[in-house]
Symmetry: C2
Subunit: 391 residues, 2 copies
């Protein structure tokens, strides 16, 4: 019965269309074509161009961070952010078990080891107090930092991830980092437009990153960016991701192992147009979330996830949480909705259940494991928040 | 005198324009608008979409390789190609000292060590016979492969690079690889449209890669691709570069450390339009090269580089070689031409002169070192090969 009820609520909120309704699709209703066409007309399509600079400036201004550095995608941005947070080979890095695989992969690219942290239900993100207790019991503070005595490895950094765009509880996490000499790098891939206590996510990390993949709230096709309030880190990140070429009118001299991670101008052009529309997207997405909240509130056996008090979420992906007693119906809900052309999705497989990460250190992950059995994402595109959806 | 003569020849060939004439700029005279707009209109801008598939099929068909896998850039493609050629941490990889830094960087990303090889003047690429003699003298063949007894490391692969689009002498290099149990990975970043003995470059390597950066003969803004004649390697490369996600209608399960290296659909859309125009670009570029060859042939102290007999080059970047006796005028040539709005460029700094590669193993590099003192690239855009340039 519950799966049918959920399907019916979704049908009542979502527009009647012939084709399937996807989880999240982009909306190009602004200056995308104008700016992209400008790139094609002028020939400036690649890694140098005014839209890259403009996009970076717009991002910095919108988020309130000092600097933004545009990159080829969020994974690359996280990798570079971790490097400049000082993550070295054989370090451990704390990150949620409940995240997209890129968070853990970026740690691996540093030849470091993920160390998995539990989540809390009110944010779907890292649980700060549980983490504090865990570290207090299980780590050693030495002169050179925080150590995991079981593995002998240094624990260098913490990567909170703003799950589905909902801000984690950053203040206590920041305190945990201070207490245990850990650097924070926010994986804000999903949280462009999300604020924690009136300040944009990404401002707590030494460096933080966004993703502009096609499924995100704003997209550049593929793309990402680092934001930071440290000017010199931004300069270094820009240098490193543009092959570490030393500026010269014609000489090709590179002063370190660099990367080719710069966002192309044509992708940045889309980004500028998308960022112009972000306030509209946010309004529509919050409107859709409000419709969902209202429609699901009388359905027993299920909760519609809403932002915690300290947060203003972009509601990137709307989320249903089945109650414990109805968790066994998750697969039926997924089947019935997808079969009716309404795309829904379960949680990512938790990181410690993937073959390449199953032997990584971890704390008790019971909340994340419980959330994994109950979590379902439902369609969340901005266009679905139009007035016509107010049926 | 020579610098002025060179300037005058360039002026006689190149159109009189107000703005500077760059070394290489893209040309978007085909279906770029149409295809890119289709992406925006349909919302398919990201890492899944019909243009990615179409671009891969077009590339495979054009090059005669069995499969192409589109990626975010040529550097990423080379890194993945090296991985699937079996390059492991602490291996050595043979590559020319005269190359763009990305060739060496991709080796570093594998935690392997570049081992630098000399060039030959008739191709500007790797010198096969000199390499053969060097390996004969300096390596040991053991059961598990070719070893460098000086460093104790295995030498796993050879990366010939088709400098400025001009094919290296692939047959003898292929024999060297056979003789010494080395895998070949062609860095064909610059040689889309270049043929060796009637067959497209990239078909000798176990895997090979192209770049579609903004300065290349065809561009996707930023982009690259692997080509290979091994279907299973292509499948593995595609899987690895799309986060190693195991296909499922909703589950997120990844079976290994993957990468986010897929080319976005909007960039592939440009690539399709560009590839359609490649025959025209090639014709124009070869026409420009012929103008240059003719105009420079009576200037003493300088040679215009022309393709060797076995090759049909795309003439991506046209190249002047100063004679030994006029090499000291190189900087003056660069100054005077750039000051007159004609962009020219010297050789890349040789790899073993960069701080991060100065301690890498290398053979005698006297030819590359000599070429570095004499080499100048001159404007090469396809549009410059229009009939109006036949002044």
């Amino acid at each position: 019965m519950l799966p049918e009820k959920i399907l019916n609520v979704l049908k009542s909120i979502l527009p009647q269309t012939k084709g399937p309704i996807s989880l999240h699709e982009p909306c190009f209703a602004g200056n995308e074509w104008k700016y992209v066409k400008e790139c094609l007309d002028t020939g400036w399509v690649s890694s140098v161009g005014k839209f890259v600079d403009r996009f970076e400036n717009m991002l910095a201004e919108y988020t309130g961070a000092k600097r933004a550095v545009a990159m080829v995608n969020g994974t690359a941005a996280l990798y570079i952010a971790l490097k400049y947070a000082g993550v070295s080979p054989n370090d451990e890095v704390l990150l949620p078990a409940l995240t997209f695989v890129a968070t853990a992969n970026a740690v691996s690219y540093c030849q470091a080891v993920p160390h998995f942290v539990d989540s809390e239900e009110n944010t779907l993100g890292m649980a700060p107090y549980k983490l504090f207790d865990y570290l207090k019991k299980h780590v050693e503070i030495r002169k050179s930092g925080c150590y995991n005595p079981k593995t002998g490895r240094r624990i260098k950094a913490v990567i909170p991830m703003h799950t589905f765009g909902h801000p984690v509880d950053l203040d206590p996490l920041f305190e945990v980092c201070q207490s245990f000499h850990l650097e924070m790098v926010e994986d804000a891939a999903e949280s462009v437009g999300s604020f924690y206590k009136k300040k944009h996510t990404g401002n707590w990390g030494k460096l933080s990153l966004f993703s502009f993949n096609g499924n995100k709230i704003i997209t550049t096709g593929g793309g990402g960016a680092i934001i930071t309030n440290d000017e010199s880190l931004a300069e270094m990140a820009k240098h490193l991701t543009t092959t570490a070429k030393v500026p010269h009118k014609w000489e090709f001299y590179h002063d370190q192992h660099g990367y080719n991670f710069r966002m192309p101008n044509i992708n940045a052009a889309m980004g500028c147009a998308q960022l112009e529309q972000l306030p509209i997207f946010l309004e529509k997405k919050r409107c859709l979330a409000e419709h969902y909240r209202h429609a699901f509130k009388d359905i027993d056996g299920i909760d519609f996830f809403t932002e915690p008090d300290f947060a203003q979420s972009n509601y990137w992906l709307n989320t249903l949480l089945l109650n414990e007693t109805s968790a066994h119906e998750k697969d039926t809900v997924l089947e019935i909705t997808n079969n009716h052309g309404i795309q829904t999705r379960p949680s990512w497989t938790l990181m410690h259940k993937l073959p390449m990460y199953q032997d990584c250190p971890r704390m008790d992950l019971s909340v994340a494991e419980n959330l994994e059995t109950r979590l379902i994402n439902i369609p969340s595109s901005a266009r679905l928040g139009e007035p016509y959806a107010e049926a």
